[in-house]
Each structure stands twice: as C-alpha cells, then as structure tokens.
Symmetry: C2
Amino acid sequence: MNHLVIGVDFGTDSVRALVVDANTGEELACDTAVYRRWAEGRYCDPGKNQFRHHPLDYIEGLEASIKGALSKLPPEAIQHVVGIGVDTTGSTPVAVDREGRPLALRREFAENPNAMFILWKDHTAVREAGEINQVVRSWGGTDFTRYEGGVYSSEWFWAKILHVLRHDPAVRSEAFSWVELCDWIPALLTGTEHPSIIKRSRCAAEHKAMWHEEWGGLPPEEFLIRIDPLLAGLRERLYIDTYTSDVKAGGLTREWAERLGLRENTPVAVGAFDAHMGAVGGGIIPGILVKIMGTSTCDIMVARKDVIKDKLIAGICGQVDGSVIPGMIGLEAGQSAFGDVYAWFRDVIYRPLETILMSTSRIDGNTAKTLCQEIKDLIIPSLTEEAVKIYETDTCLLALDWLNGRRTPYADQRLKGAIMGLTLGTTAPIIFKALVEATAFGARAINERFIEEGIKIEQVIALGGIAAKNDFVMQVTADILNMPIKVAASEQACALGAAMFGAVVAGLYETVEKAQQKMGCSYSKVFMPDPANAEKYDSLYKKYVETGKSVEDMLRNL
Amino acid sequence: MNHLVIGVDFGTDSVRALVVDANTGEELACDTAVYRRWAEGRYCDPGKNQFRHHPLDYIEGLEASIKGALSKLPPEAIQHVVGIGVDTTGSTPVAVDREGRPLALRREFAENPNAMFILWKDHTAVREAGEINQVVRSWGGTDFTRYEGGVYSSEWFWAKILHVLRHDPAVRSEAFSWVELCDWIPALLTGTEHPSIIKRSRCAAEHKAMWHEEWGGLPPEEFLIRIDPLLAGLRERLYIDTYTSDVKAGGLTREWAERLGLRENTPVAVGAFDAHMGAVGGGIIPGILVKIMGTSTCDIMVARKDVIKDKLIAGICGQVDGSVIPGMIGLEAGQSAFGDVYAWFRDVIYRPLETILMSTSRIDGNTAKTLCQEIKDLIIPSLTEEAVKIYETDTCLLALDWLNGRRTPYADQRLKGAIMGLTLGTTAPIIFKALVEATAFGARAINERFIEEGIKIEQVIALGGIAAKNDFVMQVTADILNMPIKVAASEQACALGAAMFGAVVAGLYETVEKAQQKMGCSYSKVFMPDPANAEKYDSLYKKYVETGKSVEDMLRNL
C-alpha cells in the first residue's frame, strides 16, 4: 500500500477530513462533521453580525471527521498514514490562557462567546477596525496595512481582539495571548499549544495581523498603544516568527494518536487559510489564477520573487511571502459577493411569493411549505435555463456587482450595486443574465489589476460551489475573462492542498510543488471562451468600467 | 325632473356611457360595453405592435352602452336627455371614402386591418415617424412640431397615414380622407360624416396633425410632399378649420335617435381626447394640474392666454388653444410609464414562479393555475403593504423611472430605467418603494418644468386607476410633489367632462367653466404631504435629477 496523508479542512459550518494516496493524489475517503453547537445557532447573534465557534465544536468535529474518513478504509490503511495537513477559515482568533488553552475550554468561560473563536465573518469589531484605520492613516510612519491591501478590516485579528478586550473584562483579565484557528489545530494535535512554542502561520499573520519581516514582525508596541492602551503588553505575548506550511508544527501526541487510531508522532504541518491551501490543491503555479467561487470569491496567485521583486501590487487584498507556496509571493484578491448576488436576486423573487403562499387558503400549510422550498430551490436553476436561451442576445442591460461593496480592485465597502438599462421588456432571466455578467466583469477587473502590474495570467482554475454547479455562469465568466477556465475535479481541493503539505512534512516530497506534480488533481471541465461572445463582452466590459467610474461617487453617497 | 346629458368615453378596451343630471352633476347611470372583435384579439398583432379597432366595435359599443345606461333609469328619463358629449382615445385615425365612411364598413375592406381605426398605441409607423422628424429637422422653415413637444411620434396621425399608404395599395386608392375617432363619432351621430362638412377637433388636430393657426392650419403641401410624395393632394381633402368642444357637431339623426330611443336633433358636441375631457370632468382650472394616473400618466393644465402670451413651454407634449377649456391654452405633459413600472416589477417576480408552478407535480394543474392568478393579483398589494411599513425608512436605493423612455420633460424614447444603490439587504419591498418614489420623482420633474416656465401649480387632482387604488403611491407622490393631491370621486371623469360639453351645446351653460361649477365632481380623498417626508424627499429628488443627468447618455447608448 502507498503512503497515505490526511488533509483536514475547517469550514464555516463543518469540517472535512480527506484521506489521500500520497503517491498518486487519489482521494480514498472523505468524511464531514457538522459543528453541533453552531448548527443549533448557539453563541451567535446574526442581528449583530456576531458569529462564534465553540472550541469543542472544532475538537469534536476534528475527531469525528478523521475517524469517519478512516472508517471507510480497510483497517490496515491506518498504519500507512504518514502526515497531516490542516487548513481553516480566518481570521478566526481566540483568546488563550497562559497554557495556550482557549478560554472557553475552562469551565468559567464555557458559555462565554467572547472566550470562543471569533469566526471570520463576525463583524462586531466594525468600530475598532475604523479606529485602527484612522491610526494607520495618521500615524506618519510605516503603513502596516500595505501588504494587506491598505485597509484594515473588522473581520481581522487586532480589531476582534480589541473589541473583546473593551467589552469583556473577565476575558480581558484571563486572555494571555490570542491564537488563530489555523495555528491552534496543529498545536492541539501536536501538544505545542503553549504560547512560547506554538508555530504561527505566515499566511494568517501577514494577511490579518499586520506582521511583516520589513518591520520586524508585528507592528511596534507604540503603534498598538496608539490604537488603544488596552493592547499594551500583548505584542510580546504574541509572536516574532512565522512559518510556512512546509514546516512541521510537531508530531501527533499520544493522546490524539490514540483518539484517532493513528501512530504517535505522525508529522503535522503548520496550518494556513483554506483558500490558500485550496489554491495549492487546485494546482496553482505562476501564471494561473485560482478562483474559489462561492458566495464570494477568493482569488489566489503566486509569483516568483525574482519577478515581483520589491513591487507592491496595489488594490488587491494581500501579498504574502510563502502564504501559498513557500518561497513564492502569494497574492490574494477577491469579490465580496459572487454567488451571493444570484442568491440575492432569488430572494427578491422568492420572498414576496413566500408571504403570499404561506397565507393563501387555496392549499394547506404543509403543501405551501414544501412548495415554497421547491420554488426557492428551483428559481436559480430555472433562471439559468432561461438565461442560457438568451446567451447571445444583447439585452441592453448593465449591472454593477458591488452589492456587498467591492473587495478587489481597490477595496471600498461603501460601494453598492446597480442595474441600468431597464425597459418594460426586461424580464427576470434578462436581469439574471446581467447579474451573471456583472459578477464576471468583477472577476475581469481583478484579472486586469494583476495584468496591469505585470503579473501574467494565462489560465484560471476554478474551485467551489458555483464552479461545480453552474455551467452558464462559468461559460459567461470564461467569455468575459477571454481565458480558459478549468474546473478542479476534486470537490475537496482545500483538504487536498492540506494533504499535500502533510506529505511534505512527512518527508515524502522536498517541496509542495513536487507534491503538486504527483498528487495534483484533475479537472472535470474546461470552459473555453467563445470568440464572438468574448469580443462582444470586451466592449461591454469597457462600458462596465466607465459606468462604474462615473457612478462610484454617487453609489458611495446613497 | 332636471335636464340630463350623456357623456360617452371611448377607451382602449371598452366604451362607457354616463347619464348625468345637467343641473347637479349627479351621475345617474353608467354602462360599459366591451369591443367584441377587439376582445377576441382580431386585427391585432402585438408582436408587431399593430393594434386596430373595427368601426363596428365602436358602433355596436356606442349603442349598447348608451342604451344600457338609459335602461337603468325610469323610462321617462329618456325624454329629458338634452345633449351628448364624446371623448375618445387618440390619435386613432381611420381612412374614409368620399362619403366619409370608414373603409372597413365597406364589404371589400371588412376584414382589412388597414381599413380600420389605427389605435393610439399602434406603433407600426415607427419608421415613418422617424422620417417625418428628419424632414422637420432638415426642412429649414417652420418647425411644425413646435406645439406638439418638438418630436413627432409613431402614434400620431401623419405617420400612421403614411404607413398605410405605403403598405396597402387597395386602401391607398380608396382612402379619400382620414378622420380621427373623436371626430367620427359625433359625425356619425349627427350625419355629418361627409369630408366637406365634418367638424374636426382642435384638440386632435393641433396635438397630432401639426395643425396650427400660426401657419394657416395643416402643414403646407410642399412640406408633406417632402416627407413622401404619397401624401400629395391629401391636405386639401382634409381640413382647414378646427373646433373646440363647446361647439355643436350637429343634431342627432333620426336613425340614431330611434336606435337609442332619444329625441331627434339632440345636440352633440364636437369631440376631443379622453384625457382632456377628463381634466374638465376632474375640475381643472388654472393653477391645478390634473393627472390621469394609470399605466402611464397624462398631465393636463390650462393657462389663461394673457398669462402665457406667446410663450412656448419647452419640453412638454403639447400646447393647444382650446384643447381643454375653450379660450384657454391647454398644456399636456405625461410620463410614459407609471403603473406600468409597478406591473413590470410584479412580472419580474411573477414570471419565474409561474414557470415553476405550472410544471411542479406537487399540485394539480388547475390548482396551479388559480394559484398563479391569485399570486399575480396579490404581488402589488403585498409589496405595497410591506412598503408602507418602511415608508419613512431611508433605504439608500434610487431608481430612474424611464423604463418606457421619457415623455416629459423633454421627450426621449431612448432613455431607460435604472435601480441604483443595491445591497445584499435590498428586498423586493425596498425595490418597490424605490420604484414608487421614482415614478413620483418623474411626476415632480413635470411639475418643475411647468413651474420653471412660470406656470403656477397649487394643487394636483388625480384621476385613474392608480389614484383610486393605491393610497401608498398617492401619499408618496404628494410628499414628493410637496403638494396636496385630491382624488376625483367620479370613476368616470372623462365621461363626466364629455357630459359637461353636452350640457354646453344643449345651451344649458354658456361656457364649460360654468358647467364645471354646477356639475363639478367631488373628491373621495385628499393626500396631504407629510412635511418631514417632503423635506427628506426634496434632497432625494435633487439626487434623482443629478444622477439622471449623469447617466442619461449612458442609458441612451446601452
């Protein structure tokens, strides 16, 4: 039997463990565990955009998913597992005590959401992010956000820490340090949680914590105190060094080895964020943009250091040495709404019907309920089917895709969406088509940003739900990008990427590029741009850009 | 018993006859007759925007509606009928023979749509209208469209005539002259159809046929030939003089008197267009704008000649001496989509659902059909109910109402609509509210045009379906106009206005203003602007204007 490696991918709702043949990349078994407390809606307050994960959800999910996947293999397979890699959402930090234990694992904090992981999409720290940005602007010295896209987000490390420190004195007094989820899982598995030895992910630190070699790590104490004196002293209890995922975090502890039925000391790689490992799993190399297409998109590229040199790519989300492939510069961009734009339009159509259907006397309540669900599920497929019929029709409709603000190029959360060119003949499928085009134009704007900076893109590899499910969206995107798009065959590209790093720390491959070459995934589909459509869209894209520019200010101020 | 008068209102789908007490204005009886052939969809081709009415539909409907209304009164009432007034849609011309008979009434033309009335909304003559406008621009002499808003429409007299002359040699050879519906009905009733004696409506001639005293009536032969030599000779077979509706077209013929059971020689007034007579019925006087609010709006004002003098109000649809109230200048403006904008949004929501519901196996076909109809009918009321709840909420959404182009101010059919400021939180009711605001902003833009030209507006009187049915739309419109809006109590303001002219030609009143004073309708509701909302909307209106200006060019060129 070949060597096996495990990739573990911690998502928003669940965690997946994937067992992979380390020689061939064959995906042998996969299992998913839903976070139990999260599924019950505990510790969250969507009205306040508060989203927290209890550490026990992670611990239980980790065990269940790995054991679940292994149980699908012959018993002897377990002996062949030689390495583990981990990717997670982020920035998802947690307050830990002197031993590096998340506070919520202590009885007195067991029910305190502020003692839990603050999920990436938690927006409770909007105010703190604003204050951080103000200090960044008025500081006069180094711009510590320059490698993070130039704007600090409420979704990130320092803003979340400050928010909790301000609002929860109990957590404040017990929080010795703070740890990202992608650092904590490998530390947990390898018994390296103690703040003095835990290995921190370069990907997380440099994208979210303003860490950079250029200024010797985290921002200086003086800067942090300028943001808020509450941050005083924290810097030295955090970290100086950061690590790429080809580095071993440690070996599996006896306890976890027993729990999982694996061998003690099995090497575990330093963690990283899901999209970055997904890019590796999807087959990223210089010249390829990997696009993780779901509710939003995360767009990843890598560039050789001798190409990028000291250049700072303006208007993207982040530029981090080794965040994706160690030794190369990882570049991150993204659209803040992609599939969410279609879901938004579905709901515009669906909600009024739900109101009416749930109160009609013509059908009984249960039928109404199932009918509602059926309608809701069918709206996007049905609109897609109609839109396919008008694929080549010029509909005179132009939409701007900034319904959730704009992330790349040049992040601006104040921007909003628009639909322009409506006539009495504009139907729902025509609007849907325009929204699909708008999201694809948004994708093109990202590509253009890279290209303008001299970063060549020859091809796009797509991962994620939209790539797997909606061929129409993918074809229009290929036409508008005027570039082939390959869809990764693996539905678990993130876990696959994590497994590749597991193979590297197991010593099977010298570099993750070599692991990619042997374990690289295949592609289920290739969307080739239609030349006629690509040409037509080329001029429509210019209109999108011009129109966007001319109404930007107005949209900001609405 | 008091004197009675009858107002007959020829609409798009049906004709209404209203019997009114000429002393008090009390509406005693009303009856509606649907056009039978039209209801069957005959002679029309919606795909080509071809809409024709068979003259027999009018004749049969005229008889049925008047007899229907009279039958609801005591038999002796008939003896008290002393006058008849008529209003119709327009421009709705027909080709007539040497005797003034619509060609479709002759056996050989009985089934030829080109020998029938070409309904106002027929757009088959788009090309001819374009050519007319080109000649108007390149002509060098008088601009014959200057009192008609400066742009000749495919909905109008000459364009329609030219289109038929070009495409139907049989009609071309037999068409001696052409007659508007509002001229033909009074002529039919009074036996004055012969082209040499038929009295032509000033309202129709000056709004639609480029007739004006300034250049001695219709445009000169030379101009018409420049448009197309096919028009040669027609001018002298048309008319020189035109008449206002306080003039008698003639007395009821014996034949029609017998058919209707009325007295021979009962005076019949010269006809006019529906909106203009509706304005009279609604209570128009200088300083009041009467707004007929349906799928689109028609906005009518009157101005004293000593106020308006030689001034030409730019950017409106028409300015005609006596078109509304004889002796005053009638001013016409309008929005090319009003209720149609809401119906459009309803269909955006409804159509996808219909597709899904009609193919689900969860309910049977008949239930699906009735459910569809129920949902379709409930969407606007349901959106309205939800919009009322957010009446005072600032939703950051701004729409432009030009989904059917813009009629006033400054007609431009190439303009299109837009919805700007969308976020993932934008719901259907929020969009609906923005569309209501947009149509009200469109209304305000018309008011501003009048006011800028020195035509004061102190109050708005509203007629039509929207005014009667949707209080939310009316309140928002009152807020945005910052002006009280009275809703006419009469659902038959057009027919009531026609009846007032019937009373004038019967000799009961010296002028129609005096008829208005005695017979004037009451108001069912008054919408007072909410001061806080009016102020808020005042600044949003400025955004509407600015945004509109900045995207106009872009919308034109989409």
